[in-house]
Symmetry: C2
Subunit: 402 residues, 2 copies
């Protein structure tokens, strides 16, 4: 522990602890374990043949471009595509390519925004609970949190107003099929929330990785379309095409996007041009609509299987969300049970894994909550896994009560 | 300027200025301009067909893996490949896969190391001059610099000892075909330098992007092989395969690499699995040795063309380095000429571009220096470009003298 590296760690780095949960969940990748833990899309539905054909065309027709250095902001034609798509989807708030920057997954957008805005101790408002990976990213830049209470439609306006009145550096909000809760703001809620941002003039980071994976109909208008001058909107191809591309983007005011580009240059120069060109080629082949329509059906079926199994198998008094899209169901268990210390035993005995909900709460709490992913395994495996998990939890609750 | 984003900029971000040079060099990408400014490999020598065939095999045989999320540290088989290659090249200091982490280009390694080690105001030792992109990365984390004087073999031991005696957080050194000077440490110099690190117990960041592109013979042993417990060694596929993959790596003590993985998770989760699998497949096809042998010949010829043209065309009193590999020649012009304000005129009038040397000097100086890249253009274009640049500089010097 006294080597010259360890004695030199930065203050920010000293705060990073190796997550016990992360270590356990590495075990959960074993093929004999049913894992509801990750946020993994169904690999059997990746558009692999379209990707293969796209890579072939890209490397045959413009290999020199697709393998060379390119602009930090991203491949020009892909910025144009995203700008056109966003403008078509949100005609009230059209954007130009200069409003778009490609990122190495949405995760990098969180890192870049942190770098541009956060000094140690700065306040951020987030939903409570919120996406763990975002909290880790902000925490590395020594943020502090004002957690905003949620109801079934996400952040409660009164609680949000209280947070924004404290003039945080920014608020981080997932309005659609939220991670981890699966909750979605309705149209009225979106309007109320956007008005609050306009009133308090606080920058809004709107993260929307799952919007395209709705079950019945798209969620309401993006918050960005309601407050375009205040919003950095994060998008990704991880859930619609494939996460392995590490391809996300940010749409926002031109000057803000230019600031992100300045720090992205120092972070990785630019995002993989091969990934960008392959994605662009797939998008131009017009398979995306049909692909998404298949994906929506499959994920809806798996979600239904999970919800029905939860009703059948989980201990009485458990409650869960009913998502209208996305990848996650959020479960609250009855009584004072703490699901984190249970995890190693459940993995070992029942060969099933979940993510304890506590780490999604920026300032603590939520020991009796867990996040379950329903997209990675087929419906029958989902049913089997929920049955095993239900058994384990029922036993644990009986022990707690005894 | 008073929007709620701009008023909230972090201290680190307020220090980032939009580079005037960067804006000029965007113009230099125009096809009618001969640019010696970038660090771009020759795209006509990218192993495009090998890449295409590799992408085809990867997506045919293991598309689900190559498109899915993967470990933050990198694809297991690629870590094994790099560990085996490093161990074979440096038998005195073998490494395991656990000593290797894949990064989104070497640039990301600089970002991750900065995050793990740097608090505002911390001291770093670097060669003077040093790689501009590294200085930008460190500066974003508010580093201060102890610049180490160089001779024809790179960092001078006496000057380096003085820097290390100040116990900097780390030293950043490019021992082989240095960026920007093209200089290389001989075997004796390497031993002396490694001994200094061992004596002062300062972590060493050894950056070696160009080592494989030697003209006659490989440079001496890596500094890592001489001080393995103190070194994070950065490598990249950008110059050997293609930069568009954004694929680099770090080799170092296991505990140090684990720290980098912790912060990489928050930075981008992991590097493009598609890029990693395609690179791995190309490496397994064993074309690399022959490819590098071709590349060495081509770059050597282009370098010779540049050196001969410099002797013919540049103003009397100019001096330049004679690199034994890599991508750059470093030029020092006579007298008090400042090449930065000259750049826009030279680009406009002579349609040729270079990078002024001043920004490569962490604490200022070097106004009469410039970096010239010789790898991107064919030899006859290199000759033409140097002739144009020589004309412009001769005129400028005449004006200065008058």
């Amino acid at each position: 522990m006294t080597d010259p590296f360890t004695t030199r760690l930065s203050t920010r780095s000293r705060g990073v602890t190796s997550s016990a949960i992360r270590e356990i969940l590495k075990v959960a990748n074993r093929p004999d374990i049913i894992s509801f833990a990750g946020g993994l899309p169904a690999p059997e539905y990746f558009p692999i043949e379209a990707m293969r054909a796209a890579a072939d065309r890209v490397l045959t027709q413009r290999g020199r471009l697709a393998l060379q250095y390119d602009a930090t902001e991203g491949v020009g034609e892909l910025r144009e595509y995203i700008a056109a798509k966003v403008s078509a989807d949100e005609p009230g708030a059209p954007v130009k390519p200069e409003n778009v920057i490609l990122t190495t997954g949405s995760q990098q957008a969180l890192d870049l925004i942190s770098k541009v805005l956060l000094d140690p101790g700065d306040l951020i408002a987030t939903e409570n609970p919120s996406y763990l990976g975002a909290l880790q990213s902000f925490r590395l830049f020594q943020a502090t949190y004002h957690p905003v209470a949620m109801d079934e439609e996400g952040a409660e306006p009164a609680a949000l107003a209280e947070a924004l009145a404290r003039a945080p550096k920014f608020a981080y909000v997932l309005p659609t099929f939220q991670n981890p809760t699966g909750r979605t703001m309705g149209a009225e809620r979106r309007k109320a929330v956007a008005e609050l941002f306009t009133r308090y003039e606080v920058p809004l980071v709107e993260d929307d990785p799952y919007g395209a994976i709705y079950f019945d109909q798209p969620a309401g208008p993006s918050l960005r379309s309601l407050a375009p001058d205040l919003t950095l909107a994060l998008g990704t191809f991880s859930k619609t095409l494939a996460p392995g591309l590490r391809l996300g983007w940010v749409v926002g005011p031109e000057a803000w996007v230019a600031r992100l580009a300045q720090v992205k240059q120092a972070a990785d120069l630019h995002t993989s041009t091969l990934s960008q060109h392959v994605a662009l080629e797939v998008l131009k082949s017009n398979i995306l609509d049909e692909h998404l329509s298949v994906l929506r059906g499959v994920y809806h079926e798996r979600c239904q299987a999970m919800l029905e199994a939860l009703a059948r198998e989980f201990p009485k008094g458990s409650r869960w969300t009913v998502p209208a899209g996305g990848m996650f169901v959020w479960v609250e268990l009855p009584g004072g049970v703490d699901v984190a210390p249970l995890l190693p035993r459940v993995v070992a005995e029942e060969k099933v894994a979940y993510v304890p909900g506590a780490p999604f709460h920026p300032n603590g709490g939520g020991a009796n909550t867990m996040r379950l992913n329903f997209t990675h395994a087929p419906a029958d495996v989902v049913r089997d896994g929920v049955a095993r998990l239900g058994r384990a939890l029922t036993r644990a609750l009986a022990t707690t009560a005894a």
